[in-house]
């Protein structure tokens, strides 16, 4: 059971990281739209975090698959598939010269991803708390068993 708890703890940390990275990219794009930063800085900041985000998301998805938690896996799977498609086409990084043409599309894509990550977050929180509570109850049971008798 302890492994379960560890898994959910790890998942919790990963989803927080994913939400953070995704929100950071969204903020960079909206700063660009409102003229707070120039396109070179914006695109270099976003491009710096795209690959780490892909890796964390991929690891999380594989983790869910390996430990056979099918529901979180099903939520993460479309994102993984989309990431792989983008990487194959070479479109995962932001191009400075095209950024203004594609601004709305990129923002929409990141908002959808953020929605997915938030739903995963809810699932992870729920499972984390239930696992922790169950673990504590079992320990209590074990304490009862090995206590007097």
């Amino acid at each position: 059971m302890a492994w379960e708890l560890l898994l959910w703890l790890l998942a919790f940390a990963a989803v927080i990281a994913l939400i953070g990275l995704s929100a950071y990219q969204l903020i960079c794009l909206s700063d660009l739209e409102f003229d707070y930063i120039n396109p070179y800085d914006s695109s270099s900041r976003i491009n710096a975090v795209v690959i780490p985000e892909f890796m964390v998301q991929g690891i999380l998805c594989i983790l869910f698959l390996l430990t056979w938690h099918w529901f979180p896996f099903l939520i993460m799977a479309p994102i993984t598939y989309y990431h792989i498609k983008l990487y194959m086409k070479g479109k995962h990084l932001i191009d400075v010269t095209e950024i203004f043409r594609l601004l709305n599309g990129e923002k929409k894509y990141r908002v959808v991803k953020l929605a997915f990550y938030c739903s995963i977050f809810i699932v992870v929180i729920y499972r984390f708390v239930t696992t922790a509570v169950l673990l504590l109850i079992e320990e209590d049971d074990q304490a009862l068993e090995s206590g007097i008798f």
Binding site: Y40, I99, F100
Partner: protein, 665 residues
């Protein structure tokens, strides 16, 4: 006058009902359409930099053998006096083939009168051998630069190097120029083959046409080029590409450097000294000496209720309404689309304002000794100016009124740019279809305004202002950038034509897609000579205008094609060509120049008059004889847009198609 809010804001108004400001007549910025302000220091990020012209020259075997190097060196040398920004102008040269050659031109106190060349063979990790000495002040090191340009053709005369390390050379040029910005002129004669950014011979693949992957042929192959273009614009460097190769040299990739830095692509396919040298000389000289605005940014504003959505041209978008133009001049044009924000416009007029921020440097050449120290101080400081154009357009509630005032030239220019941008993401076929669709839709709308009231069933209804629009759209579909498929235009020529059309002003673009056809044999045979004799009348572009007994000139602004009819008198023919035609059947080698007879002199005069109509480019001249296949077809007949050619319709069929499509509702 300096911008100052305090003096600007308050003023009395005249008595009602006019309520105008009393000082309206004294303030040109309130009443004139184009005004220039001197900007105060708050508008400057950094003080204006000295203008820098940097030359990156390919010296592989194809460049040397075609005689290109000599012409380039001579032209640059002749323009050195007229480069703007005297006495602060700086310059530098890098040549490259399979290695990079840096040239130290600095005339230091140790009296270095001969240029020094340093060769760097390490292409993976490019470094500058002399970080500080590669850029020199032109007036200080003038004699060294002259010596270098004289020796340049001789230096590489016997070379047999076919490789071209374009990417490393580009990075080296960037390292040299990144502090100051300026103009980078690249002369490339072959496909980049070594180092970073090397391009495969992806060439023109017949199998790709008609598939979804077709548009990738027209896109840059390596992301290196777009990244370098972004870096160049960030450091205020504008890139002009001169491409000379007769084989495939991937202009789609090279041109993207010019596209995102506000530069220009010049293409001389299969460069031959005889045919192209005048053209190269003229255009290079114009490029170096025309009035240029460095480190410019352009901002566009409009009144309430409209918003500018997209921009078309060669520039980098720095913000949603800010265009970064590292070096801009009067030969470039930009197009933008606006959209209505509100459905009901309550104002009577809508205002548009374009502002260009640029440092002002005069292009007068001040020769050496007479410059006093005071003069030197004033002319070496640049001031920053803002040129503002303001235009007002009336708002009409009636759609038919808007059609009546439509400007065909502007519409065609915008449609052309949109079509070229479409061709970068779709098949050529689809790009042409969308052009036709736009035409049909606009005619359909107009028809719906009138057909009910007048009950005109079977006729094509269009406004007087748009009477040439179908013809121009047909010409766009048949232009080099958009025509046909694999066999109709070489990929390099297609891409170069595409880049060209993105920057052309309206009149030049209309001339390019619908060239002027003139009959000149009467002019040549006139006995009594007067200046401005028989005015040249423009003929419709169809084979019916061609008389086998005549001599015709086709002028599209970039090339002259002289067409000689089959039944032309042979002495006229020999006089024009200059030699006995029977002994010299290959007209592609004939150079049209002034021969020693009256007819030839008159011909030159006619060509000169045609060239003088547009000083921004110099047309190269070619001869073609009726019946001389396949040259006649590729050079001349494909330009006759009103005729039917293989795969595309003639003018009459086109109008019928448009009519039928606009009928169906």
């Amino acid at each position: 006058m300096l911008l100052s809010m305090a003096t600007f804001a308050c003023c009395d108004l005249t008595a009602s009902p006019h309520l105008r400001r009393c000082d309206l007549d004294q303030r040109p910025e309130l009443s004139k359409g184009s005004v220039e302000f001197v900007a105060s220091t708050e508008y400057m990020v950094r003080p204006p930099m000295p203008p820098l012209y940097f030359f990156l020259i390919d010296v592989s075997v194809s460049a040397v053998c075609s005689g290109l190097l000599e012409i380039v060196a001579k032209t640059i040398k002749s323009c050195l006096d007229d480069l703007p920004g005297f006495p602060r102008t700086q310059t530098g040269f890098i040549t490259f083939d399979s290695t990079l050659h840096f040239h130290n031109l600095k005339a230091s106190d140790s009296s270095l009168t001969q240029p020094q060349m340093l060769v760097v063979a390490d292409l993976d990790d490019v470094f500058l051998p002399l970080p500080d000495d590669l850029l020199v002040n032109l007036s200080d090191s003038r004699h060294v630069v002259d010596a270098f340009l004289d020796s340049l053709p001789v230096m590489f005369q016997g070379t047999s190097n076919v490789e071209s390390a374009f990417g490393p050379a580009l990075k080296a040029a960037f390292m040299v120029m990144s502090q100051l910005g300026g103009k980078l002129l690249i002369f490339q004669s072959t496909l980049p083959s070594l180092g970073v950014g090397r391009l495969r011979l992806r060439g023109d693949d017949l199998r790709m046409y008609g598939t979804d992957k077709e548009h990738t042929l027209r896109l840059p192959e390596d992301p290196f080029y777009k990244q370098m273009a972004a870096e160049f614009t960030k450091n205020q460097i504008a890139v002009d590409i001169y491409a000379f190769s007769e084989k495939y040299s991937d202009i789609a990739s090279l041109g993207s450097l010019a596209k995102y830095t506000g530069g220009q692509v010049y293409h001389y396919p299969s460069f031959q000294t005889a045919v192209h040298q005048e053209k190269l000389r003229y255009e290079l000289a114009r490029n170096l000496t025309r009035e240029t605005a460095w480190e410019a940014v352009m901002r566009i504003r409009c009144g309430k209720g409209v918003r500018f959505t997209t921009y078309h041209g060669h520039f980098m978008l720095r913000s949603t309404d800010l265009l970064a133009l590292p070096a801009v001049d009067s030969d470039k044009a930009f197009a933008m689309q606006l959209s209505l924000e509100e459905t009901l416009m309550t104002t009577q007029t809508v205002y548009f304002q374009v502002a260009l921020f640029y440092p002002y440097l005069s292009s007068r050449s001040v020769h050496g000794n007479a410059v006093s120290s005071y003069q030197r101080y004033t002319s070496s400081s640049g001031e920053r100016r803002i040129r503002v154009h303001t235009a007002a357009a009336p708002v009409v509630a009636d759609l038919s009124e808007m059609y009546r005032q439509a400007d065909t030239g502007a519409i065609v220019s915008l449609l052309g740019r949109l079509a070229i941008e479409n061709s970068l993401s779709q098949k050529l076929e689809d790009a042409r279809q969308s052009l036709q669709l736009k035409l049909v839709k606009s005619l359909k709308e107009y028809r719906n305004l009138y057909v009910v009231q007048h009950r005109l069933g079977g006729r094509l209804i269009f406004p007087e202002s748009l009477k040439f629009l179908p013809l121009y759209v047909l010409s766009l579909c048949k232009s080099v950038a958009l025509r046909g498929g694999y066999a109709d235009a070489l990929l390099d020529e297609r891409c170069a034509a595409g880049y060209n059309m993105m920057i052309l002003p309206i009149s030049r673009m209309l001339k390019l897609i619908y060239p002027g056809l003139f009959r000149i044999d009467e002019n040549l045979l006139l006995k009594d000579l007067k200046e401005g004799q028989v005015p040249l009348g423009q003929l419709p572009l169809s084979a019916q205008s061609l008389d086998p007994k005549g001599v015709y000139v086709l002028d599209d602004g970039f090339n002259f094609i002289i067409w000689l009819g089959r039944m032309l008198a042979s002495d006229l023919l020999n006089n024009i060509v200059g030699v006995e035609l029977a002994s010299f059947p290959d007209l592609s080698r004939v150079v049209v120049c002034e021969h020693d007879n009256e007819i030839s002199k008159r011909l030159m005069r006619v060509l000169k008059e045609l060239r003088a109509r547009d000083p921004s480019s110099h047309q190269s001249c070619r001869l073609v004889r009726q019946g001389e296949q396949p040259r006649e077809l590729s050079l001349f007949l494909t330009n006759l847009v009103e005729d039917q050619t293989a795969g595309s319709s003639g003018y009459v069929d086109w109008i019928l198609q448009v009519f039928r499509q606009s009928q169906g509702s």
